[in-house]
């Protein structure tokens, strides 16, 4: 497949937003049970609005993928069958929760919704946080299932696609949360950094397994099944057009194997190796610089990772476009 930059930015940017929100609410959930000190409302509030900025940037990027952005409202109609439609519904809902959660923290309007028997007060921000958590995961699943549900794109048609979207989005969000905490709540940077480290390493496992799986895939479709002729040697001599077509532009990334290999190494270094080392050092020697570099490197790496994710998928239609006369 030819990677579309708009979709590369969409999936990585909203991943950061989702991960950042999950990180903030994880800290607040710990604080609810007095496992960590509760932070000032401004910490959660501005953090949530920062996540909203990332989600919004992703949403804007997605519009560049559309031929008719003015009809985008129609995409909310087919949620019964289309994961893309589901994503279009869940993303604004998640952004709405980000906004409410942030405003609730910033304004201090955080009434007790339920008082549990143990003396635990469930505030509005906790309820909003739960809703946001559910929506964040629903968004991860919707986004990933857009790709994972296409059964003949065998590289994508795997639970690993969903797992990796969750882990990689989570990793980048927690890394950003580490940077955010290093700047505004240094005492909590270790907590976020530790989780960022763990999720990044889980992401490394998930992505490595998918790379390993995809390298060993046996493509079910062949030229033989594509044109229905049983002969081991079939060579395409003409594809009906010599100046290229949508089929030759949309489904071939047009880069060399060497480029792909270099890109794979790059994203493995930038997304995983670099941030893991930086975050590990940051635990012992906390600073703003280390998580800052870690986040920028990881996000840049994720752009490469997502580009590679699209490029590594072999569309069976390519079997019909193997040669020009």
């Amino acid at each position: 497949m030819r990677p579309a930059l708009s979709v590369v930015f969409l999936t990585t940017l909203i991943g950061v937003g989702q991960g950042l929100f999950l990180a903030l609410f994880t800290q607040q959930s710990y604080a609810l049970f007095d496992l960590l000190p509760r932070q000032d409302g401004r910490f959660y509030g501005w953090g949530s609005l920062l996540a909203l900025v990332f989600a919004l940037a992703g949403l804007i990027a997605s519009f560049f993928h559309l031929g008719h952005p003015e009809r985008a409202w129609r995409t909310a109609t087919q949620w019964r069958t289309s994961w893309l439609s589901r994503e279009v519904i869940v993303l604004p809902a998640f952004m709405g929760i980000l906004f409410l959660y942030g405003v609730s923290h910033l304004s201090g309007f955080d009434p007790v919704m339920v008082a549990l028997p143990g003396g635990l007060n469930i505030h509005a921000t906790i309820v909003l946080g739960w809703a946001g958590t559910i929506l964040a995961f629903a968004l991860f699943v919707s986004t990933a299932m857009i790709y994972a549900c296409l059964r003949f794109l065998q590289e994508w048609h795997s639970p690993l696609t969903v797992i990796n979207f969750i882990l990689l989005g989570g990793a980048s969000g927690f890394t950003l949360a580490t940077l955010y905490a290093a700047m505004f709540a240094p005492a909590q940077a270790g907590f976020f950094g530790g989780w960022a480290l763990i999720i990044t390493m889980l992401g490394l496992i998930g992505r490595s397994v998918s790379l390993w799986r995809n390298a060993r895939l046996r493509q079910k479709s062949t030229t033989q099944t594509a044109i229905g002729i049983k002969h081991p040697r079939i060579v395409q001599k003409a594809q009906g057009a010599m100046g290229g077509s949508f089929n030759t532009r949309e489904f071939f990334h047009g880069k060399s194997q060497l480029f792909l290999f270099a890109l794979k190494l790059t994203f493995l270094l930038l997304v995983f190796a670099g941030p893991v080392i930086l975050l590990a050092i940051n635990i012992s020697y906390p600073s703003i610089l280390l998580p800052g570099i870690a986040f920028v490197a990881q996000y840049a790496g994720l752009l490469a990772e997502r580009w590679y994710f699209f490029a590594e998928a072999n569309h069976p239609q390519n079997l019909y476009y193997q040669g020009v006369s």
């Binding site: 031929g67 008719h68 952005p69 129609r74 109609t77 594809q239 089929n247 476009y321």
Partner: protein, 243 residues
């Protein structure tokens, strides 16, 4: 239920591209607007087409065969492109099984083209909507045309009648008979899309000659010439066969 479809006979197709040009001519002139081309007279002309003829060489020289392979939307009975459409622009008609795109609803997100294993969908680079073969839905029901002309433009154009058109759910239709009697098959059956369009394979007429047909069994000494005249006492052919 009706499922209109094309049956394409690869044994007959000569690769003349008449179906391609006829399709383009009809569908670029319709009320749905043109099939846009980009720099048609430039170095790299490209444009929107519903139908293409591709050519494959099967086998190793000198035992090769050239197969011309017309390719258009297969109007799958279980079309993977339809459920993924986020706007409902892509749909399969209940009454005749034609898969269509509503150009007024399409947002041009290209997701349906990703979801089609056959690469049958193309974005119109000017109008920014997805386009594909409509089975000439604006022609086959047009009562102003004579009955014999109510067929897709590609079928009308084919000089060798390699393209058949009909309802594959009607067991007595010309397409159903062709599929049934001439080993019609569908493309990429591994994805369970159940394409409505079928292809008829290349067929060779082989004459099976047994050895005893080349060599006379009643001439063990391989002596050519007239057979000796049988004696009056020998059994005649009538005697032998009447045993």
């Amino acid at each position: 239920m009706t499922q209109l479809a094309l049956v394409i006979d690869l044994n007959v197709c000569v690769g003349c591209h008449a179906c391609v040009t006829s399709c383009k001519e009809w569908n670029t002139s319709g009320s749905a607007g043109p099939l846009c081309d980009e720099h048609p007279y430039g170095a790299d002309p490209t444009g929107t087409f519903f139908n293409r003829v591709q050519t494959f060489e099967v086998g190793q020289y000198p035992n090769t065969e050239t197969v011309h392979f017309p390719k258009s939307c297969l109007h799958c009975e279980d079309p993977p492109c339809v459920p993924v459409c986020p706007t409902g622009a892509s749909y399969k008609r209940k009454q005749d099984g034609i898969v269509l795109v509503d150009y007024d609803k399409c947002i041009g997100c290209k997701y349906c083209s990703w979801a089609c294993p056959y690469g049958a969908r193309e974005i119109d680079e000017k109008q920014k909507v997805m386009k594909k073969c409509t089975l000439c839905v604006d022609r086959i029901y047009d009562t102003t045309l004579p009955e014999s002309d109510r067929k897709p433009a590609c079928v009308m154009a084919c000089p060798t009648s390699a393209r058949l058109f009909g309802d594959i759910h009607d067991a007595e239709s010309v397409v159903s008979k062709a599929i049934r009697e001439n080993a019609g098959y569908d493309l990429m059956p591994e994805w369970g899309t159940h394409p409505a369009n079928h292809y008829l394979p290349r067929r060779k007429t082989n004459l099976k000659i047994h050895e005893d047909e080349l060599e006379r069994a009643d001439n063990p000494l391989k002596v050519d010439g007239k057979l000796p005249k049988p004696k009056k006492s020998d059994p005649t052919l009538d005697d032998v066969t009447s045993w």
